[in-house]
């Protein structure tokens, strides 16, 4: 009988002391967390893809709330959730919508087997990173796609696939969330996040070869040779040739597609246009339609 009584009293006393200590500690060392962080986190997709630039959705939520306190959530945008999610977040935080234009991953290489002859055979580990570390790869182009699908493996949204016929990855515009994982995975920096464009229409230089013209020409039939014709042709000054490579600034491009017509190497691609690019003699500019 006595044993039981002692046990109960001792345990009760320990419990009481521990409770007091815990209570004091919880008050004294309490860390205040803004309840809005949890709420924002709830709204975010929870994919933890890192596309926003933070390690995961938690970090993004934290940054959004801090941004709201500082007065602006500009520059913070969830590529996965898009305007829907960002709108809800902005409503919750009482901020204006930080509305970025939707972007999409663009593969800037058109060096298919047909365009780019193989000059060697690679027999080692079949990842793009491994081949890139060994040299130019199986073709003479030291800039082009290696076709082993590091980008495909990196995509969490099943939005990029290798086309078995061309050996070049293709992006599914509808599934792409522009999280940028493929951009980071590509050892050659071929993939770029570009403005999706009205109705998905966009014009871009589908080549990243910085070699001089003759060298680039030898390596691939559709390489940019830096001839500068597109730069001269562009009525909006959107194209600049640097290091033997043309680049179309998506902010300045008005989708007239004169450059597509003029490019002697067919290195400039236009996608999702209903009609072919204008004939060499430019007729009516398509600017109006594209803007619509």
């Amino acid at each position: 009988m006595n044993f039981i009584l002692i046990a109960v009293i001792v345990l009760g006393a320990i419990g009481l002391i521990a409770a007091v200590v815990l209570f004091v500690a919880s008050k004294k060392f309490a860390v205040y967390e803004d309840p809005r962080i949890a709420q924002v986190n709830e709204l975010l997709p929870g994919a933890n893809c890192g596309g926003c630039g933070f390690a995961g959705c938690g970090g993004m939520a934290d940054a959004l709330v801090k941004g709201a306190d500082a007065g602006s959530i500009e520059g913070l945008s969830c590529p996965v959730g898009g305007t829907d999610v960002m709108g809800k977040v902005a409503d919750l935080l009482g901020m204006a919508i930080a509305n970025g234009e939707p972007k999409v991953a663009v593969v800037r290489c058109n060096g298919t087997c047909e365009h780019r002859p193989h000059i060697a055979e690679y027999a080692g580990l079949r990842t793009c990173a491994a081949i890139h570390a060994c040299g130019a790869g199986e073709t003479a182009c030291g800039f082009g796609c290696l076709g082993c699908g590091d980008c495909v493996a990196a995509c969490q949204f099943n939005a990029i696939h290798l086309n078995p016929e061309t050996g070049i990855p293709e992006v599914d515009d509808d599934k792409c969330t522009s999280c940028g994982a493929c951009v980071k995975a590509c050892p050659r920096g071929i993939i770029e996040l570009r403005k999706k464009g009205p109705k998905g229409r966009r014009v871009f230089v589908s080549c990243v070869n910085k070699d001089k013209g003759p060298v680039a020409m030898k390596a691939c039939a559709v390489s940019c040779i830096g001839c500068g014709k597109c730069e001269k042709e562009c009525p909006f000054g959107a194209i600049a040739v640097e290091n033997n490579l043309a680049y179309i600034d998506p902010e300045k491009c008005r989708l007239c597609r004169k450059c597509v017509t003029v490019c002697p190497k067919k290195a400039i691609r236009d996608v999702n246009f209903p009609t072919p690019p204008p004939a060499p003699k430019p007729k009516e500019p398509k600017v109006e339609e594209a803007k619509a």
Partner: protein
Amino acid sequence: MNARSFRIGGIHPEENKLTNDIVTKVAALPKQAIFPLSQHIGAPAKPVVQKGDKVKVGTMIAEAGGFVSAPIYSSVSGTVFKIDTAIDATGYRKPVIIINVEGDEWEETIDRSDKLETVEAHPELTPEEIVNRVKEAGVTGMGGAGFPTFIKLTPPPTAKAECVIINAVECEPYITADFRLMMEKADEILIGLELLMIAAKVTTGYIGIETNKPAAIELLTKKCAEKFGGSKYSVEVVPLKQRYPQGGEKQLVDAVIRRQVPAPPAIPVNVGAIVQNVGTAFAVYEAVMKHKPLFERYTTVTGKKLQNPGNFLVRMGTPMKDLIDACGGMPDGDNKLLAGGPMMGKALTSTEVPICKGTNSVTIISDDEARRKEPEPCIRCAKCVGACPMGLEPYLLAKLSEVKNWERAEREDIVSCIECGSCQFTCPAHRPLLDNIRLGKAKVMGIIRSRAAKK
């Protein structure tokens, strides 16, 4: 012979030293010489010539581009054709200086006689003077990695050199350039060693040679006794048991003086050893005594299918194609072309790549020998663990790289990997272990560097 070796791991690949007994030939001058600006570890050299400039043999064409860098000298006389890009041993197009060869006119400062210059005859050679001449001559490690030699000779204040070890191991299969050099230029090499010892302010020297080169061991032992017997220097020729990768600095230090170099960033001099390739010792002799900058080297051109493999004294900048043609041309069928030997050599896709400071061999391996077997699942046999000369666990490092677990890879010391390929060579499942580890190592080193930069 009581031969020593390093204590951990190692393998013994088939030797295939096809060109052991072939006396070195002087390679013909190329029509056009190509000089990559990055032939060494460190900053690329900066060109000091322009298109159209006339150069002689031994004219500086590019100066050191930083502290860890080395100048580059023309190996030919002629006109600078252009400064452009060309494929170098990295497999990519890099900046190069291209010179059209006209005649063979040398700078007058270079002593072209065969007279053996001894240290005794040159009292002006202080340690500083030697280091300076080595630096000016653009001498870099001739074994392959190409670290500027003068930096190795001036160790950081925290470390004290106790001995110079000459690396004459040549553990890589096929290559015989160092062996031929020893047989043909033994006296010069020993004076080179003496100069290195003076520069490093030490009196102890070792020459590590594997026992598959008994002629070289015999010759150098005899010459050493003649030259250093009774002097203040103690130089020992150390016969080493054949084992790959004994020519790795850290393995050689362990084999010769039984000391282990700690994990990076420690270097051999932290345990008192300065390791120099035997080719570097010869280059130091020529640079200091003959005022001859580094512009030619001994190179083996070899391969089982090659008609007349051989050893060449070749001017740098000569395209590999010229040497291969001199050996009877590229064998028929598909071949694998390597700058270096079959274990650590770099596979190339162009025969236009020039011979550089570190090109000790041009190796051509036929299709069936070069082809890898289909990888199979790892059976955890731990052969790779037993073979790793750095005491690492290659199967684990390869897996960690594959799943991109960089933190763990760093903890498992991936940066200690010397990329010798013993693990992959020994793997019975033909797994691409080194391919994965090399990627992981590069990534982890990048992470470490960016962390250091932030601090």
